[in-house]
């Protein structure tokens, strides 16, 4: 089985936010929730870089560890998913997540955050694959259709890579060797305890 990962090549990201929009559309994500976002660092300076960030599907995921009702599970492809039937909306996963991935449909007063929502790597949830109930709770299940996450698939500059960790790391390494520079695999050390040196 593959060990899936995300990799954003910040030297290619043009901050078009198409990944953000595509994700919202593909999964019919509720108002106020962004499963993916583009963060611009050193905005306006020559060193400016934009990074598209969502759930990194961490190794030994912190969200899963702190969940008081253990609603998270990891698939055979290492996708970190959760059950909205179990989630109590306590907000702990947001405090533990290094990438700000967990989102809540409500503002949060009086513990009424609602069920947590986050990037599923386009892999749905615990419900049966490709069912309406799965779509309504977690969005579409592209992995079950044999497709990769839409954000990476439709990235116009192929900055955002999704797929088996070793393969996307090799693609990135090749790019860095060929063009002679690369700002690194953002978040990989925090998520997977490893880095790619080009």
């Amino acid at each position: 089985m593959a060990r899936i990962k995300f990799l954003c090549d910040a030297d290619r990201c043009i901050e078009c936010n198409a990944c953000v929009t595509a994700c919202k559309n593909e999964h019919d994500v509720p108002w106020g929730i962004n499963r993916r976002r583009v963060v611009t660092i050193n905005d306006g300076k020559p060193s400016e870089r934009s990074v598209s960030m969502a759930c990194m599907h961490c190794t030994d995921a912190p969200c899963a560890a702190v969940c008081p009702v253990s609603c998270f599970y990891t698939t055979a492809d290492a996708v970190v998913l959760h059950s909205k039937d179990l989630c109590i909306g306590c907000g702990y996963c947001f405090y533990a997540c290094p990438f700000g991935a967990p989102q809540y449909p409500k503002v949060g007063n009086f513990g009424s955050r609602g069920k947590m929502d986050k990037c599923t790597y386009c892999a749905g949830g615990p419900e049966a694959d490709l069912t309406t109930v799965e779509y309504e709770k977690y969005g579409s299940n592209r992995l079950a259709e044999g497709k990769l996450p839409l954000c990476a698939e439709m990235c116009s500059t192929k900055s955002l890579l999704a797929g088996d960790g070793d393969i996307i790391a090799a693609i990135y390494k090749e790019r860095v060797t060929k063009r002679g520079y690369g700002s690194g695999a953002w978040g990989w050390r925090t998520a997977y305890r490893e880095t790619i040196t080009g």
Binding site: D11, N42, G89, Y181, W186
Partner: protein, 336 residues
């Protein structure tokens, strides 16, 4: 020297010459073309400047302004390793200490014969508030502990769905019982603060160990030094729990994600110590001491019990009502 060797020597010399000139020549070339590698930011650089990476987002959600906050990993360590240990040691340690205390000293009994003449110790409003706060505290403590131990102890027994449903209700209970708890604490503070101001008698009481260990009689007013410690502990502990709890109840209104982590750490540690302290209070107010429970239960105590435990307060009571006939309780008696 053969022609071939000369040729080699010349080409080597030319090569050396080329290398010698090529480096400065390259350096002197106009540097108009930007070097993207040299100018780009990277994680190592940013983490040296700050412990987290912040940026700008175009979506209208300020909380998503950061890219990476490795502090989440630290909070996870605290929440999953440190917190269960702190709470476990505080609560089980206190239970063990109380069991040992009971086995060594037993139930503390006074040497007095009941006169049947009962005087009012706690008015209805005091008892009502106390038991309201007590009920809220038990709900808050159990629902709070569920956040730490529920998935470890109850989930394997109950199954994930029943446990998650219960946790959901306990979460709501935690959020809503906090309010009557806080109101009750406020009432208790107003009603009891006057009798809980430290006095000289308290030093003597503490020196003699409160007479708990049977080292002679100790004087006390309406509340002894031990009760004053409980009063101030509860007041300050509740204040800390209320302020931190409020910040947790309205997330991100006063602080960002790292502030929320710190707030939950403070709320958790003080909560655990609070529970341990209240266990001691429950012990001494029930099995630990004769006559203690009826004071808060029925609201009245035997006049002799009062002399034994709170002599200065009993004297006051006598002065206020010297002709109180035995066995009569005047509910209209002003607070003393």
């Amino acid at each position: 020297m053969s022609r071939r060797t000369v040729g080699h020597a010349i080409s080597a010399f030319l090569l050396a010459l080329m290398l010698a000139f090529s480096i400065p020549a390259h350096a002197q070339a106009p540097t108009t073309a930007p070097n993207p590698q040299a100018e780009s930011v990277n994680e190592d650089m940013l983490f040296k400047q700050n412990s987290r990476i912040d940026g700008r987002v175009s979506i209208p959600d300020e909380r998503s302004r950061f890219l990476i906050q490795p502090q989440g990993r630290d909070w996870r360590m605290f929440h999953e390793v440190t917190m269960p240990w702190i709470a476990g040691l505080a609560i089980l340690g206190m239970l063990l200490a109380l069991v040992i205390f009971y086995l060594v000293f037993g139930r503390i009994r006074g040497q007095y014969s009941e006169t049947g003449d009962r005087i009012v110790r706690f008015r209805f409003v005091e008892r009502f508030t106390h038991w309201m706060v007590a009920t809220c505290f038990i709900v808050l403590a159990l629902s709070g502990l569920n956040y730490i131990y529920g998935k470890r102890l109850l989930m394997p027994i109950m199954g994930p769905y029943a446990f998650a449903e219960m946790s959901q209700w306990l979460k709501y209970a935690h959020n809503f019982f906090a309010w009557p708890f806080t109101v009750g604490i406020l009432i208790m503070f107003v009603v009891w603060v006057r009798d809980n101001l430290p006095s000289r008698v308290d030093l003597e009481w503490i020196k003699k160990g409160g007479g708990l260990t049977g080292r002679g009689h100790v004087s006390a007013g309406r509340f002894n030094a031990g009760q004053k410690i409980v009063f101030w502990g509860v007041t300050l502990g509740s204040l800390a729990m209320f302020v931190s709890g409020l910040a947790l109840l309205f997330p991100f209104t006063v602080t960002g994600v790292n502030g929320m982590q710190l707030t939950s750490i403070i709320h958790g540690i003080i909560g655990a110590v609070f529970i341990a302290g209240i266990l001691a209070h429950i012990y001494i107010g029930s099995v630990g001491m004769e006559g203690a429970f009826e004071a808060m239960g029925s609201g009245t105590v035997d006049r002799e019990w009062a002399r034994q435990h709170h002599d200065l307060w009993a004297d006051q009571a006598d002065r206020a009502d010297p002709a109180a006939p035995a066995g009569r309780v005047d509910p209209a008696r002003p607070r003393i």
